[in-house]
Every structure is written in C-alpha cells, then in structure tokens.
Subunit: 578 residues, 2 copies
C-alpha cells in the first residue's frame, strides 16, 4: 500500500488514476489531497481534477511518455549506492565542467556520458555540471524549457540513469552539479496551473508568468521548489545545484526563497555530513547573493555559496576577440581585463551601455573569497546564443585560446569549462529545439531568424533550431581531441588544471592579494598570484618582461628565464613560479 498526495487547493474533487482504476482522493488540510492504494514501482498514474483529463504529478520523478503523458512511480531509495565514503568536495581549487547530456556523446544519454568520465578525471576537473534534465516535449533541447522539475528527461535515461551517473562520478572522485530552473516553466506541457497558483502575474519574467513566490497561496509553491532542491541532494546525491537566472525568482517577501533554500541545504549538508553547494546564475552583480546569512535574527545575505560572474567572461572574450557588439561594448575599456582579474563585477555601479543605466555594486574584496565566483571563457549561453553557435575557437588562433585558458585557470575565480573547450572543439554548439507543438516550433524558428536578421545576419546563415541537423552538428567530435593543435591545447588545459590544484598560490582566493599589470601597447598582461606569475602576451610580437623563479609551463617551447627576465612569444602564455 502506498499513499499518494497532491496539492490542488481550488479543486472540488481529485481522482488518482491508475491504469485499471480511478480512486477518489480525500481532501486534507491546506488544499492537499490524499489516497492510499495498491501500486508498486513502475506503475503509471495520473490525476484528474474535477473530473478533467489525466494530468501528470507535479512532483513526479518519471515521465516515461514525456510531459503530456502519465507519471510513473519511481522510488529513488531503491538504488544501491556505492558512494558511502563520498563526502563531497571543496569549491575552492575545483574546476567545473559544463556539459549537455544530449550532445556530449553520440549516444546522448547519461549512461553514455558516464563512459566519458575518465576523460574528465584525466583533465583534472572536480565538478561535472549537467545542463537541465527536466523533461520537455520532444527529445532535443537545451533544457531551459522544462516543465517537470522533479523528473529526469526520458531521452537521457530517466531518473535511474541519473543515479547511476552520480554514483559513477563519485567512484572516480568527481562531484556532480545539476542545473535547475525554477524561475519559469516551459511554454508546452505545463499543467501546473491547473493544480494550483504555481504562477503569478504580479511579477514578470522574459519568459512569461513568474513563479508565485509571494502572492496568496505561495507557501506550497515555495515548498515545491525547496523540496525539489532537497530531492536532488538527498535522493540523487548531487553535490551542487546551479540555479538558473535567480534574478527572475521574483520574491518580495522579507525572507527571499533563496535564503530559505541556502538554509535548508546547509542544514541537510550538516545532517548528512557531506558538502553541498548552491551556485546561482544572477544578472544582478549583487554581492548580497553570496553573502552568508545573518546569525540568528540578524540581517545578512542570501547565503548562496557561489554565483556566476559573466563580466569576467565578457572581459576575456573581448580581450581575445576584439568583439564589441551588444553587451560586450563596455568591455572594450582597456582596464576591463585587469579589473576582471581582481573583482568579479566589472559593472560594480558603473554605467552599463547595454542596460542604459548604472549597474551592480562592488564586492568587498577584503572579505569575500574569489572562489565564490564562477568564471568562464565559454558557456552554453555565450556560445549557443550566437547566431551560428560558433565557439571562440572559430574566431581566434590557438595561441590566444591558450592565453584565455591560462587567464581563466590561474584567476582567483572558480573556473568553468564548457564541454569541448579543452581541445578547442571545432564543432559549433547551436540553439536547437524539438518543439512538438507545430505552431510553437515555427514561432521559435522564425523568431530566431528574425532576431539575427535584425543584427545584419542573412537568415539562411542562421541554423534552423528545429531541424535535427542543428542538434547533430552540435555533438562533440571526440576523435579530433587527439589531433594536432586540439591535442596540444588539451594538454595545456590538463597542465594548467593540475598546477592550479597542486599549488596553493594558484587557487588562493584572497582577492586583495591579486596583482595585475597590463601594457595595452604590447599586449602583455601579467597576473601575479603569490610567488607565481602568469605572463600572457596577447600581442602578435614577442614581448619581454621581468620575472623571477623558473618556467613551470609555456605554450611555446624554448622559453627561458635569463637574468631575471624572459621573452614571451606573441599570442602565448608562460607560467613562472618558485
């Protein structure tokens, strides 16, 4: 016997549907309905509200037929974990590796991805970040249009495959971070509004109605978010969650849902005796996000452990490519790269041309450690939101890629790589969708082309997101990783990550100790990290610089320290240490 419950505060009747019977549910407190039935793991089920059509469970873990179909009972406790000794990992010193399950391998499943974990171990990263796994209609997609945050996309293998993946990662000493989206629900397959006021029109998001976090009846909606967060840590043993676009979690309460979330996660971590991390994506440039909560009733920050720092990406990207369109404009400032190595927010109260206003606030670099900020040279967004999904490796010579990698991996931030970046993958990573609603698919196809046409693109050069070939072309070509410059770059990444992990100077997080010097004329950028110096020559010509110690790593061969100085070849980097 098993009790099933569902929240449906405005329903007059709710039935549990099993394949062979309809069971009326009893109305309990606070709009929750209950029924106890004979149903074992694997049984499909659905709910009927006021006698309506079958709807999947808002808290269901498996949707074998996708978001429009019935749910399937799944007991996460049935899995036989082998990670009893695993106690998590520290973010400081770790490198994150972002991957999209559907395009990481030819197979496009979690099991196929698990077969590539040894590559990540060799690379030296610590935390594998999986782009969203929540089901959406169709098979191909980035995952940000998910509609069932408790479940795992069946195409990827469903919830059992995620447990296997996490277990396999832990067996290799790798942590797993899951990208979760709570700020909105996708446009197709979203039946939550039929169950209750999950969404509200008192706030806007760029994607439509906002999640109801502060309007009437929002307590159970918050609980639905918070329980989902707990589910991943507790039942799937994930080590971190990457919280999508938290600036769109509109919550005017005195206690923001992120603060409740960080408190619950910290309490769970203490109970379970392992490390658990929340990493926010935030557009606010607001240090309050990663400021610890106040003790007792004192006012403090939101207590999220880390957050993305896109400004660092922008500064690196502009320094390497010279691009200045859109939100890159302000980063043409010759001081941008230096600032981005010492302070996570380039916009810390400064004018943002893109936003038409001042933006951000300074981080207290004396007290906030650098590891709380996740920085990148590539991310799914920064690559995939370009017209053709071309990576930075398509625009700049490999020497500059090596320079970018060195700046990122020797920076005081927590570096994150995007799958394939480590070998300068030649494959694009484009915007792809598989909307099964024909009208929606056509709207997305046209919208995408119109958007880039307005920026001067020929529509025919913009891949059709709905076409399977756009998805297929975005899959990594693993064979190239062993070839020529790809293999050389891969070795460079491995060496940098190893040195970063092994040497305290290189993952020290005291921001006030970071020193930078940039000579825009020659293109020589020097990043001092304790007794280590990274010398990055972004110019085309060789440039000399003073240095002390020994050459630990050089992109170009034959670089030597002579009389306290060395010559760095054009578009290359050298790491010197004692």
């Amino acid at each position: 016997m098993r009790e099933l419950t569902v929240w449906a505060p405005h329903a007059r009747s709710v039935d549990l549907l099993l394949p062979d019977a309809r069971h009326p549910m009893s109305s309990g407190e606070d709009g929750h309905w209950h029924v106890t039935v004979e149903a074992g793991p694997g049984s499909t089920y659905a709910f009927s509200l006021d006698g309506g059509d079958p709807r999947p469970d808002p808290r269901g873990l498996r949707l074998p037929d996708g978001p429009h179909g019935w749910s399937q009972l799944f007991d996460p406790g049935d899995f036989d974990w082998s990670d009893g000794q695993w106690s998590g990992l520290e973010l400081q010193g770790s490198v994150i590796y972002e991957l999209h399950v559907g395009t990481f391998t030819p197979g496009g499943t979690l099991d196929a991805a698990a077969e590539r974990l040894d590559h990540l171990v060799d690379l030296g990263v610590g935390l594998v970040e999986l782009m969203p796994l929540a089901p959406f209609p169709g098979t191909r997609g980035w995952g940000y249009d998910g509609v069932a945050p408790y479940a795992v996309h069946e195409t990827y293998g469903g919830p059992a495959a995620l447990q296997r993946f996490v277990d396999a990662a832990h067996a290799r000493g790798l942590g797993v971070c899951l990208d979760v989206v709570h700020n909105h629900l996708g446009p197709d397959g979203n039946y939550l509004g039929e169950f209750g006021p999950y969404l509200t029109d008192t706030h806007h998001t760029p994607w439509g109605s906002a999640l109801n976090l502060d309007a009437p009846d929002s307590d159970p909606v918050r609980r639905w978010v918070l329980d989902n967060v707990q589910q991943w840590f507790r039942d799937f043993h994930v080590d971190a969650l990457r919280l999508d676009a938290v600036h769109e979690l509109h919550d005017d309460r005195a206690v923001h849902v992120l603060e409740e979330m960080s408190r619950e996660v910290d309490e769970l971590a203490a109970r379970e005796g392992r490390r658990m991390w929340l990493i926010a994506e935030s557009d606010r440039n607001d240090p309050r996000t990663v400021t610890p909560r106040g003790r007792g009733n004192a006012v403090g920050g939101l207590g999220v452990h880390a957050q993305w720092a896109d400004d660092v990406h922008h500064a690196l990207h502009v320094a390497l490519t010279g691009e200045t369109q859109g939100y890159y404009a302000d980063f043409a400032d010759p001081g941008a790269l230096e600032k981005a190595m010492r302070s996570p927010f380039f916009h810390d109260g400064t004018w943002s041309t893109f936003r038409g206003r001042r933006h951000g606030r300074p981080v207290d670099t004396a007290s906030v450690p650098g590891w709380r900020f996740v920085a990148s040279l590539q991310t799914h967004d920064q690559v995939g939101n370009r017209a053709t999904g071309d990576r930075i490796s398509a625009s700049v010579p490999v020497g500059l890629l090596a320079c970018g990698a060195a700046l990122l991996l020797i920076s005081p931030w927590t570096p994150m790589l995007f799958m394939g970046e480590e070998w300068g993958a030649s494959t694009p990573w484009a915007y792809f969708t598989d909307h099964t609603d024909a009208e929606l698919g056509e709207a997305v196809r046209r919208g995408r082309r119109a958007e880039f046409a307005s920026h001067g693109w020929d529509e025919n050069d913009v891949p059709d997101p709905q076409h399977p070939s756009t998805f297929e072309a975005s899959k990594l070509d693993w064979a190239e990783a062993g070839e020529g410059d790809h293999a050389r770059l891969l070795q460079w990444y491995r060496s940098l990550i190893r040195l970063r992990r092994e040497r305290r100077d290189l993952h020290d997080a005291h921001l006030d100790l970071v020193r930078t010097r940039y000579d825009a004329a020659s293109g020589m950028f020097i990043l001092q990290r304790g007794e280590h110096q990274l010398l990055v020559n972004l110019g085309e010509k060789p440039a000399r610089a003073d240095a002390y110690g020994t050459v630990l790593l050089s992109w170009e061969p034959g670089v030597e320290l002579l009389d306290g100085a060395l010559e760095v070849p054009g578009q290359s980097a050298v790491l010197v240490g004692v």
Copy 2:
C-alpha cells in the same frame, strides 16, 4: 539671468515658455536641455516638447494654478530663516504627531496650522508630521494622488508657507516631518511621462505604473527622487521624511534606491550638522529596511532610520475593539498584544490569513532599538480607510482609549498620534477627494461605495468622497478639546508624554528588556519598563495586581498601592514607578 534645465531624453526640441516669449533650449548631455534667460522670482514658465502644449516643470517648486497650469519660479534661498541654532532632535524619546493640513484647522492652510503649534508644544510631542503637500488637481484630498513632488499644494499656501511653518515649529522646539510619495503618481495631471521614462511597466503597483528605478534611462529618474529628498532637508529645513509605501518602490538593482537615499541623507546631515531622519512606511515586515548600511563595500541593510509598524496598531486596535474583520483577523490571537509590545512585527514569518501566506521575518531584538519602529493607535489610514472614517473613540469607552494611549506611549516604540486623538475627537476623518476630472470623480465615488457595499455596508451610509461636506466634517472641532472627557483624555495624553520624555525607563529602547504579562481572563495587561510598571485593565471589573513603588499616574482617581499590590478599576490604567 538664470539658467533653466529640464530632462527630456527623447524630445527632438524643447522650448522654454515665458509669459511673453518662447525660448528654444539647447540639447546637452544625457538628454538634458538648457537655456539662459531673463526671468526673476515670481515669473511663470512652462516647457513645450516638440512644439506641444505647455507643461509644468517636473522639478518646479510652485504651481500657482495647479498641476495643469504653468510653473512659477520660486527661490527657496530667499527665505529669512530664524532657526540657525536648530540642530534637529532625536527620534528616541520623541512622539510624532500626524496632521493633515486641510482638516487640522478651519482655515486648512499651513499658516493656520502654525497657529496651533503651541497646542502641540503643550501636548509634548516632538515631531509634527505633515501629510503629503504635493499638488493635485482640485483643492481637497489626502495628498497621495500628488503629481508634482517638488512643489507644495497652492491651497495650503505654496512653498513659502511651508518654509514659514518649519521656521515657526523650530522656534518652538518642534521638528517637522514631511510625508512624501515617490512610489507612483496620481491619475490626473501627470505629465512626467511626456518628458521621459519616469514610469515603467516592468513592475506593478496597486495604483498603476511603477516609478522607473531600474529599467533603461532610470538613472535620471532616481536622481529626480534623490534630489527631491535633498530639497526638503536642505531648502525647507525639514527634520524627517515619511516615505510612503516603500514596498512599492520596485527596484531590482544591487543598490536599492532607499540605500542610496539613506546614504545621501546621512552625508547631508553630517555636512549641515543637524539630525535628519528617513521613516519608511513598509508592508514587508522586513528588518533589513532599518538595518544600517554595511561599512565600505560590505553588504548591510537599507539604512533607513525608522519604519512604521502597523502590526502594533492592529494588535492594539483588536485588543480594544474586538474587531476581527479583514487584516485584523490574525490579531485576535490572545498572544498578539504581548508580542506587539516586545517585537514590532507580529507577523515575523507567521501565517497571515489576509495575505494567504507566511509573512515577515523576526527583528533581532537584541540589537535593534525599539525607537526605529513607529507605532500608533490611530493613523490617517487606519481611520480614513474605514467606511465612515470613524475613529476608535467612536467605538470604545473613554477608559479604553486611556488604556490604549498608555500602552502606546509607554511602549518601546516611537509613538505617533493622529491629530485629535489626544482628546478623543468626535469628528470623523473620512476619505475625501476633489477630482476635477468628472469621470474620475464619479469612478472614485462609485468605487468607494461598491467596495464597502461588498462588505455589507448600505451605500448611503458611506460618505461621498467628492462632496465638500465629507471634507468639512473631517475638520477637527477644537472647541471640544476643552470639554468633559475630551479634556480629561487630553490631560492624560499630556501626562503620559511628559513622563515618557522625562523618565529614561519609559523611552528605553532595548527590546530584550521589555517584560509583559497578560491575564486574558481578567483583562489585566502588565508592561514592565525597567523599574516602572504600566498596569492596564482592559476588563470591565476591577482587578488586583502586585506592584512596587508609587502610583505616578492613574486614569481613575483614588488608586493606591497597599502592601505591594493595587486594585486597578475596570477599563483604566495605572503607571507605577520608583
């Protein structure tokens, strides 16, 4: 010669209109237009955008013909101040007195109000709070539909009258607090949107479009708010601003406009060497509002100095009247009154029936002083938003009014009285308007009646807000202040305020030192403040209590301490001290 400027970022041409000429303005930086002309104080002027109709100055100080007319040049520096020795006052220990200029006196002007200041000196209050003075079309109104925050309603006497009022108050040792509305603009006479994006649809308020604090082009809008705040302190010598409904100042930036505001006000106060206070009305129950800003770049609170605590009002109101409709429902909790005397937020994370969700967060009572919270037994809202504008004195016997006054004035909060409360005014204070737009007037009249009809009222019993008699009936009847129970109550208020001011125990603000004891059966509520005890008998029968010291004040005569105990007559209060 005088330079006039105006911000109009999207205009192609702007002309300054003077009575006898049209002067084209020059476009400067950031959308500001300039012109230098011959024009002296008293000259009327207006702007014409792209050749359009004359519009008043968004930063104009005087509107002699109301918001639809031209502005008039007014030099605040021309006033001959006599308050050179004035350095402001402390909030701790002070009592605030809220008044509406139009109904405080028969004359309804600032000059007429100034003639009553001696009454306030005798009463013993410290800070006179003026309901909003910003111009609106028509003559009668509460003032929350103002459209020109830089100006003073001509009916009240215009800006010069405000300077005279403040100077007269300071001469008597009284401070002045001005109620200012920045969260929205009234429905009639708002031309700001023609000048620039002052308003935004990315956020909602209950009154329509929100002020644009974080969307593109919002920097000059914030400056318009912040400069207005500085104007009142600097040019009008006010001592405090009461910030209307700050929870509707929607601002998603990392630095909230309230934080910028409190920083600027503190800096101005330091420069001018006198006390300046910001007092927020906030519905959030969020202690962050009054938490000091962080030092340097550290994250802290918004730094507003004090905020209203409506929950204290609700607890007092319900304890005295037994009313439980609407937002009073949760305050029927027998522990509500005790909690309201120790913690400013009854809802500190607890369930709010009215909101359909949990609400608020606890105040750190160990560190936050009680004077940061402004508490009341009556306010313009709590009286005027009732169907007939009846005061609490219309519902309960005078003995209970005395009990309420004692609880309020011996509480750890900063007490605020609403004009006439001190003598239990028999005059109502109703919702009155004077919309000159006939359609709007009719909509308000019908809306008001329909609202209360939906709560069971006979429409004919709800006063017509547009009718002048509703305004006239809301004026105080000063003659009654000297009569019978009115005079007795007035003396009670005077005595309580005097004792509160004189005795440190009674204005001590350490919340963790407040002790309460409530016997719901007898109705005896005991508030211990240091070595003082307030014994309030809300029941109808006499009740005994232990006490020590001497009787300092008793509502009923003949109350004496005998053998460490006293008998408090029904519906009366006794203050005992050493």
